[in-house]
Symmetry: C2
Subunit: 361 residues, 2 copies
């Protein structure tokens, strides 16, 4: 019952894993407290700090779960009863972030924006300034719409008003320019299976010194920053981390550093533009305006009269290519084409656009 055929993963993630990353999964097993594994985890903390461009003194590690567990780990340690948060909601994951802040007891002011456009930082600024505001939460790369939000402008206002900025970097880390230090971001989380090119199952997180200082008592045990720090830094047992996932993420981060972060961002940019041109030749266009677009995830408008599900099914069954459907209000209205990690190649642009052309004739 295990799949035997290859599938080209060009949806919203997971992205394809390289042969080297895949092979690393079968590295001889180690336990969660083995000196070999702990040494790799030390190394991973440094690599993640470099990937995030986290300021000196930050705590960077990977939560044992998917990207959503990273979101919950950041929220659970920074938001709580008595805290006021401003949450940017112009997509599915902004909405998830806002609702998670509420679940953890924060009072949340939502700044809603159109799905498919970047949020207006002035609107966020007004909500912050209306106060009180302890936290501002914003999705950098909105996977549901293919939109990049202006995190720098938002964090400037947040910091001027003494609030922390939390950023969802699930679809940006490793694929799009991200620099927590330069952008003044206080905490961020991501996933292993998109820009970094590993399988899912680990969620890189970064807590800067400013965030660590303002953390709240964490109601969750699994996501408790103090206990996670005990394990990752002081090597005190907390949970049985998955060695194969550490091997794969470590190998993926090696590939990221061999390529160089900037080169990797440029590759994603170039491939994104290649896709846009190829789509234009098929008379297909992207939902977000030019300036707001992600390079990693492309929201393609479904032309009127096209059965979008039939096209995805055709790609999957005839071409072994996966692309994603729209979420929430964009269901049926867009396809989501991810060109991320090792999947961001011109060859994949050609394959997916040929398959799309084929599906529509």
């Amino acid at each position: 019952m295990l799949p035997t055929t290859d599938r080209l993963l060009l949806g919203p993630g997971p992205s394809p894993v390289s042969k080297r990353v895949l092979a690393s999964l079968t590295t001889p097993m180690r336990s969660h407290l083995d000196p070999d594994l702990l040494a790799m985890m030390d190394d991973m903390r440094e690599r993640l700090a470099r990937a995030f461009h986290a300021p000196e003194g930050s705590l960077c590690f990977a939560v044992s779960g998917t990207g959503s567990s990273g979101m919950e780990a950041v929220v659970a340690n920074l938001a709580g009863p008595g805290k006021h948060a401003v949450a940017v909601v112009n997509g599915y994951f902004g909405d998830r972030l806002a609702s998670m802040l509420s679940r953890y007891g924060a009072t949340v002011t939502r700044v809603d924006g159109e799905w498919g456009k970047a949020i207006d930082p002035a609107a966020v600024g007004r909500a912050i300034e209306a106060g009180p505001c302890d936290l501002v939460a914003v999705v950098h790369a909105e996977t549901s719409t293919g939109v990049r939000n202006p995190i720098e402008a938002i964090s400037r206002t947040a910091r001027a008003n003494d609030a922390l900025t939390i950023v969802d970097a699930v679809t940006s880390l490793g694929a799009m320019p991200l620099d927590l230090t330069a952008a003044g971001i206080d905490a961020a989380y991501s996933c292993s299976q998109k820009g970094l090119g590993a399988p899912s199952g680990l969620a890189p997180v970064a807590f800067t010194p400013r965030a660590i200082e303002r953390r709240v008592p964490c109601r969750s045990f699994y996501f408790d920053l103090g206990l996670l720090e005990d394990y990752w830094v002081r090597r005190k047992y907390h949970h049985t981390i998955s060695a194969p996932l550490i091997y794969a993420l470590h190998t993926a981060l090696t590939e990221v550093e061999e390529e160089g972060l900037k080169s990797r961002w440029h590759r994603h940019e170039a491939v994104h533009h290649g896709l846009v041109e190829a789509l234009e030749r098929l008379s297909l266009s992207l939902l977000p305006p030019d300036a707001d677009r992600l390079w990693s995830l492309n929201a393609v408008r479904v032309p009127d009269g096209t059965d979008e599900a039939a096209v995805r099914k055709h790609l999957l069954q005839r071409h072994n290519i996966e692309i994603g459907a729209g979420l929430g209000p964009l269901a049926g209205k867009i396809w989501r084409i991810g060109l991320m990690g090792s999947g961001a190649t011109i060859e994949n642009v050609v394959r997916v656009t040929q398959a799309l052309g084929d599906a529509r004739t």
Copy 2:
């Protein structure tokens, strides 16, 4: 930096994975919503229900995290403010369970017992009957002490008093007799990396109809039973499950069913007795009394005057064998030797006892 040498994992878990399970990790990747993966997940729900002997109508699936995430998922959906819980604490994991119930807002009555002995069910019964009591939480196989607790006797009193029984089956599932239906257990959780023989990273859970009926609003997003059911049953996106971990656990469950659960239990029993005899020849004894012992995890007393850490280091460095240290009040006083999953073999008994003999001469 990836490890290149084999390590024999005879600690408290992870247990060794078979060649077949290891190889399954490199099965061609699928996304979390791919029809191939969803079909495997459907199959896995049934296999887990059989492994747990869960009653008809139970919801069995795997949480995307380690065993502790399974603990938190069960607690987060059954315990909350206003709920009264009786928690059995005669080991490290009983203590963790009690503290997790408190974190989620339940009022907890702890029934403390000696570390290294099974709890007296009459003491638990008295705490339940003293009431109010909505939940009784008990660790079946206490990994920190090598002790099996009398879950059947406890659940009988719980049910007679209209309380739910939650069982930690982290070190029993797949290795020790466990039958949720016969034992009247309402919810249970386990891990992938012990008796089942897969790598860590997934936590099998079982919610019986009686537990589902009494669930509480869940504060966590990642562990919300309703959202997890939406994904596992109704195929609505919640998180990006890790395909390699599904492949490995699915393959491990195939091996469990090929061997047969009862045969597998008997193998663990026979190997445990083989270890006890071999240890006796080295004048080493187990902490728990005969009747209370686990087959999967053996708590071996460190003889007076022996440097326990030096022995573990010798085993690791000279023999490439990992055994575990004691936790909490048993630190320095016991070694923990796990013979679980594919690691439960007489060959491994010979290897570990020869190495122990060698270390002490």
